[in-house]
Symmetry: C2
Subunit: 182 residues, 2 copies
């Protein structure tokens, strides 16, 4: 048990710890300054999505390409844009000419301290295989905007879960604020 | 320490526990079957948002009205739509004539088992004060679609965080799939 600015550490694991502040208990990642998620649109106008089995929910999940910032000693201190470029390449094999920050926010502010920074990736060029780093086994999907709602519904009917950040990414893609009239 | 179908419990708190499966550590809520988030649009065409201080991130956060399903003994076993109606009323003072399920997915599938079910609320009628239940101190905002991007940017410049689920809700609101041409 030790104190942090934000409360008292209740439990320390390898990747997570639990902090208590007053009666509030929450999860905090160890050794990372946050996460990134990338809204990557190919030159053919397709959104790049990932599929992987997620142990915490026990199912395959459709997600934006994503990952943690500086979560191993060799990449400690990297900035969020560098993380976004690294994760996009590792997971999907794409490099991006432009990487523009969209927003940064907490996907589950009552449960965890985690902040995810979203980027828009443009000017994609496939230079690698993708599939993830180390133990990760990631399948890459490329889906046109006009068919994405039906594509996602089809995945749900097959037993997949959809990370709500996918829909947040779709809003950034279709909203006029990003120069994409819908 | 005890076994679950999904791994071995490493730590048990009042509201959270930590489970380990292989090398993977994740947070699991105790006594709740999941969460709900509500995309509530007023008869005047305004999106209903909440603002509250969130201990895990140490800031005020703009969110969709949201809460947990069956998270106290008197509401154990309630279904997600009932939770959505209860949370919308508690937090914002609105009841909804229609409550339609949109999607259910994990906002942070690498960190926690939590699944959030999203609903669209229509036919709103204000019958209470809102502000939250018990210790909660929630401020309600009502924002027009045409000004929401600038409204959210203004909040960020004032030091607020925006929960990415707000943008997911905006996608559901503006997407043709819900009958809202944009």
């Amino acid at each position: 048990m030790s104190d942090t600015d934000a409360g008292v550490v209740q439990w320390n694991g390898e990747f997570l710890r639990v902090i208590k502040s007053g009666r509030w208990e929450y999860a905090d990642r160890i050794g990372s300054s946050g996460g990134v998620a990338i809204v990557a649109v190919s030159p053919e106008g397709k959104l790049i999505l990932t599929e992987q089995y997620r142990i915490p929910v026990g199912k395959r999940v459709i997600e934006l390409p994503a990952g943690m910032t500086g979560d191993s000693p060799d990449i400690a201190g990297e900035d969020a844009e560098v993380s976004a470029r690294r994760e996009l390449l590792e997971e999907t094999g794409y490099e991006a000419a432009e990487m523009t920050m969209l927003t940064a926010g907490p996907p589950t502010a009552g449960l965890a301290s985690e902040i995810i920074t979203f980027f828009m990736a443009r000017g994609l060029r496939r230079i690698g295989q993708g599939g993830g780093h180390g133990h990760e086994q990631i399948t890459v999907h490329e889906v046109e905007l006009r068919s994405i709602d039906s594509w996602l519904k089809q995945r749900v009917s097959e037993g997949f879960l959809i990370d709500p950040k996918v829909y947040a990414g779709l809003y950034f893609w279709v909203s006029g604020a990003l120069g994409h009239a819908c």
